[in-house]
Subunit: 332 residues, 2 copies
């Protein structure tokens, strides 16, 4: 954390838990669904139709982000964005987050303030009306952000992975491979001679490829498209976080169908589109004849090939991302 | 983690994420409130009265637990217990948890199985009917358990910290200092010559003081007492996690009253009862004349001394626990 510390900037340990929370909480909004926000033993959140959607996810320094590459603002933004997309993939409207954060005592309080700003702005951009209703602050040697996100189905049934039917239209909303392209650029050109993530070299990559770097570090997933898909009658849907191949196969297996992509609809680099993780797009199926809502593109169809992912009728290998596959044990 | 690894026992990295989840999920129950459990992008949980209570907390290897002292089962149990008590302190009935876990790739899968078993049994003992509806598995250099817990108010108002009134009865349920006594014993006698936590010496402490060690490593907080207090008309309530002095002051400040304890009601060692953290008892106030429900004991009264904590009418210093105060940076 030395890199982000500046002269005179207090650390968490110097300020103490109460004062740190006093700096962070005013930066966050509790949102429209908060009946009781932070400050008591627990929060109380509205769930008007008698149910709530919930998903949880950890972002860990090292395997999930590098402080040489991401700003604190981007960490907060991405923590919000990835969880909001899981809520959206159920066809739900995000309502609230709780955020538990563990950080080394030497962490400058400014890092936590940046994370809070990123959470707030990510919510404002991607899920207006949703807010942060509570959290926790702990000590650790590793900066860790645990987000749990909630959503409201507004009396609709959830859109599951298991509802795709042969003959359905296959559609996708969001980036296809950009996050992986951005990460590959950072690994190739944002590192020093020893291969360690380097902030100055990363800044150069960012200047040359702002959109791809942003797709990796502060993605803009199509959160509102989740509700739009549900309203249009989507039969199945998934957040594409581990690559199109792996996540398409999850729908194919859960639904007992095949998903056949049109190669021409996916752009020039099929390999990156299928294997590239962290795009956080939405892959959905709709009944035949559906006028799929923007920003979904029709990218294929559902066919009778249980558990299979195909391109132009030919099977492909499932490739994707496993949290224990790619990490070299370093942080950076 | 070497200590818990045994010959032939696979690690998370060896087994891979999918197979690890295949071993863990069957050990958990989704519970009565789960409308949709683990396996899709998010879970769906019942919230019959149109609201849900939510709290989140991180347990981190090092500052929050030592693997030389806690078994994986105890880690899971404690992760459930501490969060369930926060739900109980609102006067709510716990319904569900989500659990995000980050672990080194070298962690034996048996450690995660033990944590899952502890979560399941902790829920069964402390909040029958509640279950684990979802989770996340990530990589980290530090074993980290993030639990988010939910509860149902069953059409009642939440019991806040701010509702105590002068003249109310002050009552407490649960242990008073036992968790701190257990931790002090482990630090004094469960360490080797260099001060490092030692499993063999901890086993000896455990044999000599099973109840105090258990109060620290696998506490049994009075979770059901939260609803009982609400039904009896509790005006304020808090989970005593940071010591009776610090948490009593939180009620005193939020309510603008003083809390005057009867010294004789608190047992022999007032210092430990007031300063000792992690008991996870419930401190509540009730209208005058209330027949306080078991297992609450009357321990004092609410007096007109805004923000003050007193014993037999005399003020005491607030002491308690700050996550950044006590940690020496080591794990063990």
């Amino acid at each position: 954390m030395e890199r982000v510390a500046r002269r005179g900037e207090p650390t968490i340990a110097e300020l103490g838990e109460t004062a740190v929370l006093g700096r962070i909480l005013p930066r966050l909004h509790a949102g429209d669904a908060a009946l009781l926000g932070a400050g008591d033993d627990a929060a109380v959140v509205a769930a008007a139709d008698g149910r709530f959607v919930v998903t949880t996810d950890l972002l860990v320094h090292g395997p999930d982000f590098r402080l040489a590459w991401s700003t604190p603002f981007e960490l907060g933004w991405k923590a919000a964005a990835t969880n909001l997309t899981d809520v959206a993939a159920m066809g739900a409207r995000p309502t609230a987050l709780v955020v538990a954060l563990a950080a080394p005592p030497s962490t400058p309080v400014a890092v936590l303030e940046g994370i809070a700003d990123g959470l707030r702005e990510g919510l404002a951009a991607l899920a207006p009306g949703a807010g942060v209703v509570g959290g926790d602050l702990s000590a650790s040697t590793v900066l860790t952000i645990a987000v749990t996100a909630f959503g409201d189905l507004d009396d609709r049934a959830p859109v599951l992975r298991s509802g795709a039917r042969v003959g359905d239209v296959l559609a996708h909303a969001g980036a296809r491979g950009d996050a992986a392209r951005g990460l590959a650029l950072l690994f190739a050109e944002g590192t020093d001679a020893s291969g360690q993530p380097d902030p100055d070299r990363a800044a150069e990559v960012r200047a040359r490829h702002p959109e791809l770097v942003r797709a990796q570090l502060a993605p803009q997933p199509p959160v509102a498209a989740g509700v739009a898909a549900a309203l249009a009658g989507a039969t199945a849907m998934i957040d594409v976080s581990d690559g199109l191949a792996r996540d398409a196969r999850r729908i194919a297996e859960a639904s007992g169908v095949g998903l056949d992509f049109d190669g021409a609809a996916l752009g020039a680099d099929l390999r990156v589109a299928f294997a590239g993780a962290e795009d956080h797009g939405l892959l959905a199926t709709f009944p035949p004849g559906t006028d799929v809502p923007a920003p979904f593109d029709v990218v294929g169809r559902v066919v009778p090939a249980p558990g299979e992912v195909l391109v132009d009728g030919r099977g492909i290998d499932a490739e994707g991302w496993d949290p224990y596959e790619g990490w070299d044990g370093r942080s950076g």
